[in-house]
Symmetry: C3
Subunit: 469 residues, 3 copies
Amino acid sequence: MSLANRDLITIEDFSNQEIEAVFALADEMSGSLSQQSDVCRGMIMASLFFEPSTRTRLSFEVAMNRLGGRVISVVEMSNTSLAKGESIADMARVVGSYADIIVIRHPWEGAAKVVADYAGVPVINAGDGGHEHPTQTLCDLYTLKKERRTLEGLKIALWGDLKYGRTVHSLAYALARFGATIHFRPSPGFEMPEHVIRKLTAEYAGILERFNGVEDADEKGLFPLDAMYITPSGPHQLANIPAVGIQIELEKGVDALYVTRLQKERLDTAAERQELEKNHRVVDRKLLRKKGFEETIVMHPLPRVDELAYEIDADPRSMYFKQAERGVPIRMALIALLLGAKELDIPAAKGPSFARKRDYHVYKRDTGLRCRNRECVTNQETETRYIKPEFEIVSNDPLTLRCAYCEHEIHPQYIASSKWHQGIAENKRYYYADSFMLGRIQQENLIIFDSEDEALARGFKLGKKSHKE
Amino acid sequence: MSLANRDLITIEDFSNQEIEAVFALADEMSGSLSQQSDVCRGMIMASLFFEPSTRTRLSFEVAMNRLGGRVISVVEMSNTSLAKGESIADMARVVGSYADIIVIRHPWEGAAKVVADYAGVPVINAGDGGHEHPTQTLCDLYTLKKERRTLEGLKIALWGDLKYGRTVHSLAYALARFGATIHFRPSPGFEMPEHVIRKLTAEYAGILERFNGVEDADEKGLFPLDAMYITPSGPHQLANIPAVGIQIELEKGVDALYVTRLQKERLDTAAERQELEKNHRVVDRKLLRKKGFEETIVMHPLPRVDELAYEIDADPRSMYFKQAERGVPIRMALIALLLGAKELDIPAAKGPSFARKRDYHVYKRDTGLRCRNRECVTNQETETRYIKPEFEIVSNDPLTLRCAYCEHEIHPQYIASSKWHQGIAENKRYYYADSFMLGRIQQENLIIFDSEDEALARGFKLGKKSHKE
Amino acid sequence: MSLANRDLITIEDFSNQEIEAVFALADEMSGSLSQQSDVCRGMIMASLFFEPSTRTRLSFEVAMNRLGGRVISVVEMSNTSLAKGESIADMARVVGSYADIIVIRHPWEGAAKVVADYAGVPVINAGDGGHEHPTQTLCDLYTLKKERRTLEGLKIALWGDLKYGRTVHSLAYALARFGATIHFRPSPGFEMPEHVIRKLTAEYAGILERFNGVEDADEKGLFPLDAMYITPSGPHQLANIPAVGIQIELEKGVDALYVTRLQKERLDTAAERQELEKNHRVVDRKLLRKKGFEETIVMHPLPRVDELAYEIDADPRSMYFKQAERGVPIRMALIALLLGAKELDIPAAKGPSFARKRDYHVYKRDTGLRCRNRECVTNQETETRYIKPEFEIVSNDPLTLRCAYCEHEIHPQYIASSKWHQGIAENKRYYYADSFMLGRIQQENLIIFDSEDEALARGFKLGKKSHKE
């Protein structure tokens, strides 16, 4: 299996088998990190960090250095390249002509995809705003695999900030693909966003059970179980089971408790922050003594603030420093594979594949439709000169388009067909997107508008049968 | 030919033959960039960027890494070394004792020369304020040579901002040396400065023709041809030819269109900026379809903003990304030669040499004369402790001194002779610089004052015959 | 002798013999700096500079590169890791799992010790606030040794800012250990702090003589001799000698004049700064012509501002640039030894050892005692979560505790014994620290309070016999 010349922009870019290939090579290298210095000799990695990051940047740079390659770095807090008005595409082309591989962190969501589109060399996304951070997910999965021998059928509790942490969203998708059961234990107010839930259930072959107040979590010092995601082939088929069944299930414990830092800086008001302090839970010695946690490993993407007590650092179940340490062999394996410096024989996948649905229709027409995410790369002044918005139509009910760059979703209001009005201007009609007309227009003929003005400007008039009956 | 231990501060530091040597080595290395890792093994390059620059810094660092050498970097936006009051000379000595070669970018004009004066190792100027950026010029010339097979006798149009872009001034001098014809096509208000014109005509063996309104450029969507510089041996001897001759000449087209970003940030008023918008010309598909551009390559030092349309990026005549890419082999060759890691046999130059006149008298007396350029390194508080101002007397009519550091020119008002007053205080007289006395004083005896106060303070009285008759 | 896996946090971490070992290896490497590239091949140094430093960082990075190792760098002016609330300990653990050795500069005093406590790999302190900068001291000593053949029995004048310069304090301790005589010649208002004097006399086997107005220094353009530190075995036993003896001693001159930059930025008022200007002394050609300076080498840790005239740069006695240059072989030797890449046979020390007293009782009880130095790492919000304050009891008269992290001293007011009240709450008494009770309590039973509130909160009542009689 070769991963040469591939990019890693989202964790979904790699199949389960490819992820396992990275792990196999990381295993092979782990024992002899300082003896790998011939693997990428003569090759150069550009490490472009347009947002501060010490840990991720250093682990990538250590990885390339251990492989014998060389590193050129950009560590810029100020917007120097933007100040001169240069686009990401131009920067990507130039750096792509200097280096053999690019690692990029950028504050704009979707920026890594743009770099990959233009660089002409393999690109690794080291975090693009709130969008994705796939190598963190690789490190998370690798630690699970190392500690639990397998990734299939694990039970993982996601704990704390499930709302703002990008790492926890990517991890949830990845766990789903490997057939895991996921317990959602959010800090109140930090629940998993609906679009993540929808993606999990609509695109991966799993089901979601919601549990409100099922257990007296507060008394136990735990966050209450908010929901549970179960992949169908898993042994824990709980659909419609009574509360008592869940209770038993819960008492069996989880394989891992994945803790995240509450991103307090995202909260607007002091009141919100106070509420947060009130509901604050620290993972400490006391919590780890509870029933069901005997074998549970504790993970965290770091940096921690005060959600993990220092007193558990020496506990053999605490895996967060090992998780960070394993970032080096994982990134070494990844870089070596993408550069084609290593190839691997991997046996065919055993068991079911839970790969996500990927056959959405892509909408590219220039009808004024724009992503509504202000942090999306497609909405930045320097980038609009050359990026054409592009969307996947992920649902018809309601009409939902997902930005091909930042994956935020929009719900446009108006539709039309490119076929019906051919030649006859009188027939140029547009309709409400929630009318039955949506079902009658073939996706390849679909025209979508964000506003009536856009439709009128293109010569369309409102059609008769409008709202859904 | 050895370039070992030489510096590259301005493009004029290298002869045409030496430039060709760099190109020959770049050619040799181009095909095997990643097989050069033994050339500079064990050597260290200090990459000191006291001003932001992603592209130039990265290409130098890639170059040294591809040669197998190592890089230490300073990427400082804040004035840390200045904050403690350290001089450039001290910094240069210390870094020169650490590293084998220094690459420096600094906001002060002439700073690179100071580094070269004190470092004790080869120094490459990677941009010293608005003064020089010679390796950009090397890349420009190299692309011209690669695309046109030769540098001799080319026709090049300089387009856009000919006023503020330092790269375009250095390029003009270099083109003159290689016997090129240069078309000046400035955006209105961005004409080539007079001192550049003067240097071109006075120091290189060429002539300048000015053309106002010769062609109805506006109608064609071009900037009007402002002037043309022709080297005497060139085939395009146009002196005093009628407009019709130029018209024919123009229709033959140019070898390259060298486009530059308008440095709008240099304009003071909104009115100026509006005027600029009005006169805005984009190099786009439409322009490249015009007669005379069929074979014209499009060059740009990057970053671009909106003066080059993205739609021409894929056009085979667009060379700007190749130009950037070639920065790596050029800088590899340059570093290897200055470090003495490579030497080259270069046949003697064929054809005429257009090297600039270099035998000006140097004025070093401590008579209070100072460069008037506020950005000049000689005017910085930390540097005045040890730098003595130094000038070349480049003209007598009017008396013109060029700063040996930043090359800005000054026109002092008063002169005297060190000979006439020997022993007899009564004879200490000073004169107006525009009087006939200037011609009577031998340059080695010349004393120059900036003000009457300076003259009086040194015991001189105003002589009788003062102004030019 | 192996220094593998050792840390260098303060100069006192190394014995005289170990310091000589570093010098021996530096000597061995000096002649062939660029032939050492196999020594640390495959090893990685993390260069973490959380405070600006060009010179020190570059010399460490050059050193590791010359050894064939690789470098990953953090050069951060902004408090990025703090912004997310990460502790130094967590950072140290993670980076320690990436790299083979860590070099750290940090604004908090004692930070390097914390890194060493948690990193699990060798740590070199490259400056922790105003606390220590031991590799500068190594370079200073090395230059002395190279220029004077030996370190034993030298006479060194410390000149200028003896108050704020951390390098000069470390140097004084180190000189004391090697049996030097030290002349203190501070700029008025920049005298050596009392705690440094006390440490020199109390912990190293030497004596201090104070001389006020002994010589008419002002007339000679020198700073007056403030005091002299003499190690007992030295040939200059001056205790109680009359002024005339000193005069003769002075005229013999010193081996080195160690000049420091006045840290004007530490002065609060314009008046203070003016006073400083008035007393300003420049080490210049004139001063070096004076009797007694014929053989004196001039040293300076750099950067200089205006305390050393540029005119003496070419003087063969000026050693400051050589001092900087020697930073590279010294740091190469140090890194190679700490990484275990080199070991050395060193004969046993000859002559007396002046190693400092190191057997203080360590006070670790959690009785609310805190270091009063606001810059101490133990007082930073992110660090209090896991660092327990720790002190050495360095004196009983008055009771003086030295912070184990930043070495600042505190004088707590109240004491008690952990023994006397066993079982009987009535007997829980606390006393004034300056009462005779201090002598009656064994150090292992000593309880120390910062305030009466702290004592009362722990159930103690004030005992009868309180103040010293």
